[in-house]
Structures are given as C-alpha cells and as structure tokens.
C-alpha cells in the first residue's frame, strides 16, 4: 500500500497569498475529508496532490519519492482521481469508459484482456451501472455519470483515492453507497482523500478533516477535534445548529 505526503506544500491559486503551508501524510487506511467554502482551493489542492498542477512551493511525495520525478504511468498505478467535471467530445459507451481505468496497467502493445473486462464489469456492477454497459456516456443522467466515474477509478484499482465531490448529483441512497465503498477501500488498506460540501457526510465517514479557508489558511487533524461548530461557522460564514443522530454529529444551517 502507498502513502502520499505533502511537505511544506503551498498550492498555486493565482492572486492569493501563500497562507499556511500544508505538511501532512495520507496513510493507508485513512479517510480524509477536505472542507471549505467555494473558491478555497479544494480542487486545486486535489490536482496538486495528484501531480496534475505544479505547487507554488513545497513537494508532494509518493512513497517517499517526489511526484514530479515519477512517470505519469507509475503515478497512475498508485493514484486514482475522481474528477468533478468530465469532457466527452466523442461518444463512448459506459463499458469502454470503465475499461480505460486499466490503461496504466497495460503495455502499449497490449489489448484489454478478459481479466480487465471482468474487473470493469465488477466495478460497474458495484456502482449499480452494469445494466447501462452499452449506453453512450452522453446519454446518461448526472448521477449515472458520477457513478461511472467512480467505477472507472475502481477498475483502475489505485492504492490512493483522490475524489472531488464524489457524491455530486447522487441521490441519498447512492450517496451512502458511494461513501460506504470509499470507507471499504480504506478498510482494505487504501487511503482516501475527498473534497466534500456536505459537512454531515464528512462527520459520518471521514476520520481526518482538512479545513481550507479562502485566504489560504488551513488546519487539519482528527475529525472530532476539527468539526467544532464555532470553527465551521467561521469557515463557511454561516450560523449552524448542531445535534446528534445515530451517534454522529449533524450540522444544520440556520437563518
């Protein structure tokens, strides 16, 4: 299993001060939730951690090696990304889309084999989209496409998941199913870091939390020390009411 470390990392958000440099380690078995208002840099942080954007300062290390020094292929075998937005200029079927998750594992001359197809089919079934296998991606609903994106990363099978709003567009049942899947991945020894808008999902499913402020300030730590109503009210600029349901805190915005 792999670990991902940020060392004195300052993400590059144009026109913003450095704020606080991040030094943290994403360990096998951990589930991190990144919280913050719009424009705090959650997606930028995720892309920087994946090596898709250069940081302003500091380094990201995968198993001790700087990400920038590794080939994209090596990185892609360890790191999987669930993107928030998806482009499809060209039509492709659901099954083809899930199968591209196998790309980092195949040599240039190799075709996808039966094993790869089985992995993709299993992932599609797990995300409840197997019945859509022959459908063109651009004909799917938002929630179906979100589940397909997660199934693609599941097919990829990375040791570290970086997920940008994985519950976007999902109904309540599928929200829970996806969070359970990510928790299961962590329980099997993988590491998960996700950006979330829903405080209550973070409170229920994450064990670590990173709070990002629009000015670049940040704090992070175990869930229970971070999810304090006064801190969260300052983070979002929004008054909250708190209660407890099913053993987890629940935050509700009030007028």
């Amino acid at each position: 299993m792999s670990r991902l470390e940020a060392c004195e990392l300052v993400i590059d958000v144009p026109g913003r001060g450095d704020g606080r440099a991040l030094t943290l380690s994403l360990e096998p078995g951990q589930v991190w939730g990144v919280l913050g208002p719009n424009g705090a840099g959650k997606t930028t942080l995720l892309h920087t951690l994946a090596g898709l954007r250069a940081p302003r300062r500091g380094t990201v290390r995968l198993d001790g090696e700087p990400l920038a020094a590794l080939s994209r292929r090596r990185v892609a075998r360890a790191l999987g990304l669930v993107f928030q937005e998806r482009h499809d200029g060209f039509p492709a079927t659901v099954r083809e889309t899930a199968l591209i998750g196998r790309h980092p594992w195949l040599s240039p001359w190799q075709m996808e084999g039966g094993e790869d197809v089985q992995l993709a089919e299993a992932a599609l079934a797990r995300l409840d989209v197997a019945h859509l296998g022959e459908r063109l991606v651009n004909t799917l609903s938002g929630g179906e496409r979100q589940r397909l994106a997660i199934a693609t990363v599941l097919t990829q099978g990375p040791a570290i998941w970086l997920a940008d709003e994985p519950t976007n567009h999902l109904d309540l049942h599928h929200q829970t199913a996806v969070m359970a899947l990510l928790a299961e991945q962590a329980a099997e020894g993988r590491a998960v870091l996700m950006c979330l808008h829903d405080l209550n999902l973070a409170a229920r499913w994450c064990d670590r939390v990173l709070l990002l402020y629009p000015d670049g300030e940040a704090c992070w730590g175990p869930r229970d020390t971070m999810l304090v109503p006064s801190v969260l009210e300052r983070l979002y600029g929004q008054r909250l009411a708190t209660t407890t349901v099913d053993g987890a805190p629940v935050f509700v915005p009030v007028r």
Partner: protein, 335 residues
C-alpha cells in the same frame, strides 16, 4: 446505429477489431481494382487480365500500368493520409469539427509551393518547399499557441485559424504580384487534383509508417480523447503525446498536400462517418480511416476522370458530392 455496429461485428471496444478492418480492406481492394479497370478508354476484362499477368497490348499496358495504377495508388495514399490526419487532429483538439487543414497547414504548404514557383524552381523543389512551408506553419502555430500562458485545444484552434487566414492573404498577394506566365502553374497547384500527382511511393510509405505508429499509441489516444487532465490521471504523458500527434498529423497533411494539393472533405467526413459506425476506439478508427479515406478518394478520382470524359473534373468536387450526403444520412440515422 447499433444494427450497423453489430453487422460489422463491433459490439464492444475490446473485441472484433479485425472484422471491420477486413471489410474495409476488401472494399479498398475492390476500389483499386475498379480504378485500374475503368477509364475514359475501355480496356476489356480479358485484356486487363492479360496486363495483370504481364502480357497484353502495349497501349493497354500503358493505360493500366503507367496511367491508371500510379494515379489510383496516389489517390489511395492521399485519401488515407488526409483521413488519418483528420482523425488525429480531432483527437488532438478534442473537437470533432477539426480537419487536417484547420491549423493552417495547407496554407503554409501553398505559400511554400508558390514561393518556389515564383523563384522559378521546378519539380521536386516545389514539393520540398511546400513540405517545408507546412512544417513551418506547424511550428509557428504550436509555438504561438504555447505562448507564455497555458496551452489549450481552444487556443491552439484559434491560433491555427488566424494563421490560416494569414496564409490565405499571402497566397492572394503572391498571385496578385506574380508574372502572368507563372500564374497558371500556381493556380493548378492551388486547385488540387490527382491529375497532377507524381509518384505514390513516398505518401504510401508515410501512410504505412504512421498506421504502425498508431497501434501502440491507440489506447493512449483513447484516453486523451477524454480530456488532458483525465488522460494525465490515467498515466498518459500528455504533452509528449500531443506533440507526437501534432507532428504526425502535420507530416501526413504536408505529404498529402504536396502530392495532390488540398482536397477537402476527406479529412473531416471520413473519421466522422467511421466513428458513427465503429465507435471511438482509435486502435480501430485510425487504420480504418487510412483504408476508408483511401477508398473514398480512389472512387472519387475514378468518377472524376470518367464521368464526363474527356472532360476531367476536379476530384474535390466529387469528394464533396459523395461525402456530404453520406455523412448527413449517417448523422440523421444516429442518435
């Protein structure tokens, strides 16, 4: 659309790649046979067979071996090059409306060729100059689109369109100031026609070479078609791959333009049609483009030189007349 897909044996991306290629290869062979068999002067099937087996009358041998065959092979290679270049450009720009000429390649080639003609050079020097012009245009567009900021397909496209407009102006200027005795040669070059094609050897070699290159790159191209970020996340070294595609597509287009001038529609319509029928697996689409593009141009050129013979039509007219309705029909039938 599914019915067509099933008929060609393409139900998933991972199997049945061979069958559509086989069908297209047979079609290509049939088109080449037709092109060699018919012309404005009739050669009987028996006589054709005699020529094929190394006999036959001298006139039939001249018609078939020295006029029809090289021209058919040039047409095939040119069509294949254009369709392949179009497919690559479309993946590079993530835009199904891109064609081989969209980034100013044919404009650069035209300026190169006309400059050579103005300087009074001939033959191979014109071809070489056209090729250099196309590559210069390639580097200019890519360098400018790179600029100081970030590189995006939209920026590349816009740069290419503007540079193409610039080349257009230079071509007009050159035509306006050139001495009248050089004018006809320049106009022929700009018209684009297989009647003026020379040896099919170089374009054929390039076509085969890029098809072979496309096999190991195919899956990476599939991933790139989903966007640069997604491709990088799945382990594709995006920038080197984009450079490779761009240079390959440029070389293909430059070769096609220097073989037969700029011929429209093949590069835009053929990849599109194939995607509608075969899906979007580049490992299938790219070789299929080479075969289908070649077949289309061979058929179009055969029509162009026979339909109202002895009058000879420019082949671009035929590619448009064949390509546009077929394309619109497929688009209408697809979901």
């Amino acid at each position: 659309m599914h019915i067509v897909r099933h008929a060609l044996g393409v139900t998933g991306s991972h199997r049945g790649l061979g069958r559509p290629i086989g069908v297209l290869a047979l079609a290509a062979l049939a088109a080449l046979t037709l092109a060699v068999g018919i012309g404005s002067v009739a050669v009987s099937p028996g006589e054709l067979w005699a020529v094929a087996t190394g006999q036959g009358e001298p006139l039939s041998r001249t018609l078939v071996l020295e006029l029809r065959l090289p021209r058919a092979l040039s047409a095939f290679a040119t069509g294949g090059l254009l369709a392949l270049a179009g497919a690559l450009m479309q993946v590079l720009l993530r835009n199904p409306l891109a064609d081989p000429y969209v980034l100013g390649l044919s404009g650069g080639a035209a300026v190169g060729a006309l400059a050579a003609m103005l300087a009074g050079l001939g033959g191979a020097l014109i071809t070489g100059s056209a090729f250099a012009g196309a590559l210069l245009s390639t580097l200019l567009v890519f360098g400018l689109a790179h600029g100081t900021g970030s590189w995006t397909p939209a920026r590349l496209l816009l740069t290419g369109v503007v540079v193409a407009a610039g080349w257009g102006a230079v071509v007009t200027l050159m035509l306006a100031v050139s001495p009248v005795e050089r004018l006809p040669g320049m106009l022929y070059w700009l018209m684009g026609d297989l009647a003026y094609a020379r040896s099919p050897l170089l374009p054929s070699m390039l076509l085969v070479g890029v098809c072979l290159l496309a096999i190991p790159l195919g899956r990476s191209l599939n991933v790139l078609a989903r966007g640069a970020l997604q491709a990088a996340a799945l382990g594709v070294a995006v920038r080197p791959l984009e450079w490779t595609i761009y240079l390959a597509a440029s070389a293909l287009t430059a070769m096609a333009v220097t073989t037969a001038g700029s011929i429209g529609f093949v590069g835009l319509v053929v990849p599109h049609m194939l995607r509608l029928v075969l899906g979007n697996d580049q490992r299938l689409i790219l070789p299929a483009c080479a075969l289908a593009g070649g077949t289309l141009l061979v058929l179009a050129d055969t029509l162009a030189r026979t339909i109202i013979a002895p009058e000879q039509l420019p082949v671009g007219v035929i590619t448009a007349l064949l390509g546009v309705p077929t394309f619109l029909y497929l688009l209408y039938r697809s979901r």
